[in-house]
């Protein structure tokens, strides 16, 4: 066991228990964990997005590594690259970015749209960011139309072709699924008042929906319990002598800290 591993375990224990301390109430331990979590993750995701997407997939396609002499337009294109490389050779290494891509000038479109987003920093040109947003929303709507229609409509209709005569159990199951699907759809009719027979059918639909939500709720809670067990397993591991009883020490310190704060609050309630 290295010193760094032990240190990491202590940090993990502190952050876990600091987050758990939220169950008592908002307190400085939770605030420390929350701010660390938010700040570090924001920076982490920014770095991940840049090094996993922008640098290899965007710059790597605009300026892939080239061998040999460059001439004409290509020389000019890589001249721009070399200019960027002058600022940061880590992002723009000499000779181009070697990520196994060929030069693809179509990637200028996302590059320009990305630049438009950055222009939000200058109020005079901020309106250009709307083009990028319009592109994203429009493209997503068009792409998802096909996906939703395929999975939510066509597959649903196909899925209703259930076996009806295999056994009594299968027949009951199939009939229940079909009734649930149809009555559920009735509930989502908006241009019709839910009264009379229509109201009764949609009420059956909402019963089906609520039963399925209940089942989903139970399933998700079971998943959460397994996550909690995972955290407790770590805390138990880190409470061993190998880690210098990290869990017990940190737990004790947090309890003492919370106790002192509660005492202070009691002594001067107006300041809280």
């Amino acid at each position: 066991m290295t010193g760094m591993e032990i240190f990491g375990a202590w940090i993990a224990v502190f952050l876990t228990l600091a987050i758990f301390s939220f169950l008592y109430k908002d307190n400085p331990f939770y605030k420390i964990a929350e701010h660390l979590f938010v700040g570090i993750s924001a920076g982490y995701w920014a770095a991940i997005a840049f090094w996993n997407q922008i640098q290899p997939n965007l710059f790597g396609r605009l300026w892939p590594k080239v061998d040999g002499e460059l001439s004409g337009l290509k020389a000019f294109w890589y001249g721009i690259y070399n200019f960027f490389g002058w600022f940061h050779s880590g992002i723009f290494p000499e000779g181009g970015i070697d990520k196994g891509h060929e030069i693809d000038i179509w990637y200028l479109i996302p590059f320009v749209l990305g630049m438009f987003m950055i222009l939000r920093l200058w109020p005079k040109f901020g309106w250009l960011a709307r083009w990028s947003m319009a592109y994203i929303v429009g493209l997503a709507a068009g792409l998802r139309l096909y996906g939703f229609l395929s999975s939510n409509i066509i597959s649903q209709i196909k899925g209703s072709a259930l076996p009806m005569f295999d056994s009594v159990g299968t027949s009951i199951n199939s009939i229940l699924i079909i009734i649930g699907t149809l009555t559920g759809l009735f509930y989502f009719f908006f241009s019709q008042e839910h009264t009379g027979i229509f109201g009764k059918i949609s009420r059956v639909g909402i019963w089906f929906l609520m039963i399925s939500f209940g089942a989903s709720f139970g399933f998700a809670v079971m998943g959460r319990i397994s996550l909690l067990i995972g955290r407790f397993y770590d805390l138990i591991t880190y409470s061993s002598a190998e880690y210098f009883h990290a869990s017990w020490w940190v737990l004790g310190l947090i309890i003492i800290g919370l106790g002192i704060m509660a005492f202070k609050e009691k002594a001067s309630p107006e300041s809280h």
Binding site: A42, M133, A161, S191, Q192, S216
Partner: protein
Amino acid sequence: MKSKHVLISIGTFAILFAAYWWFGHPFFKEGREVMFISIVSLSSIILYYIAEANNGAKIFLRAIPGLKAFEEAVGRSTEMGRSVLFVPGIMDMDQVETVAGVTILGHVSKMTAQYETPLEVPVSRAIVMEASREIVKESYLSQGRPDLYNDSMIHYLTDDQFAYAAGVDGIMLREKPAACFYQGKFYAESLILAETGNSIGAIQIAGTASQAQIPFFVTTCDYTLIGEEFLTASAYLSQKPSLLGSIKGQDVGKLIIMIAILFTVVFNAFHDLGWVQYDIKQFFTAN
């Protein structure tokens, strides 16, 4: 465009397409006929009803309690002198639910501008932040209160799911908003957010089409817009004829889908009994 024009356009398209099909339909991807017909017919129905609504046809929409509560929630915040918290989900603008959530934010921000109630919108995606700022700014301008708007009302926290949840929880505990709106695409953080909102006594209105998260919102929020209720919210709130028409068109689409389901069930049962040789499932199988 008048509904008559829409019908003429659809008819012309159908004739042209029939001619194209007759002449061997080059470039048409075989095996996707069902998808093609579905997209064209559903789009045509929706376009027709949009045109009808734009021409002044009265479109009835049944009441949804959760939507009526929007104004009540903002009003409560105003009376208590506290802020309104709006969470537009944790996904980007390429998700339909996020787009719907940001659209609803536009309506909520109109109310907060009108009542001069502070609004806070923590977001987890940079593009959602930009889109939200645009829409909220527009709302404040439309209500004649640009002075109340500032960019920091909509602020970025982090892309990380649970770090975002921790950050929003912190905001809830410190700012103590009187109304919390969760409108967008959510995952496992939904219960963490809604439980904290519940613990501070805020009136909570959730809306999502994320099937697995609806139960959590139903159990912890005062009102929940489930599935399509959430996606139709902007039509309800704006009462724009084009949006109302699209809801009517979608309802007709649903009716056709129900008929298709019933037909499939009966046809499949006949196939199982050996009365019909053709397997209906093959019809829906795209290549």
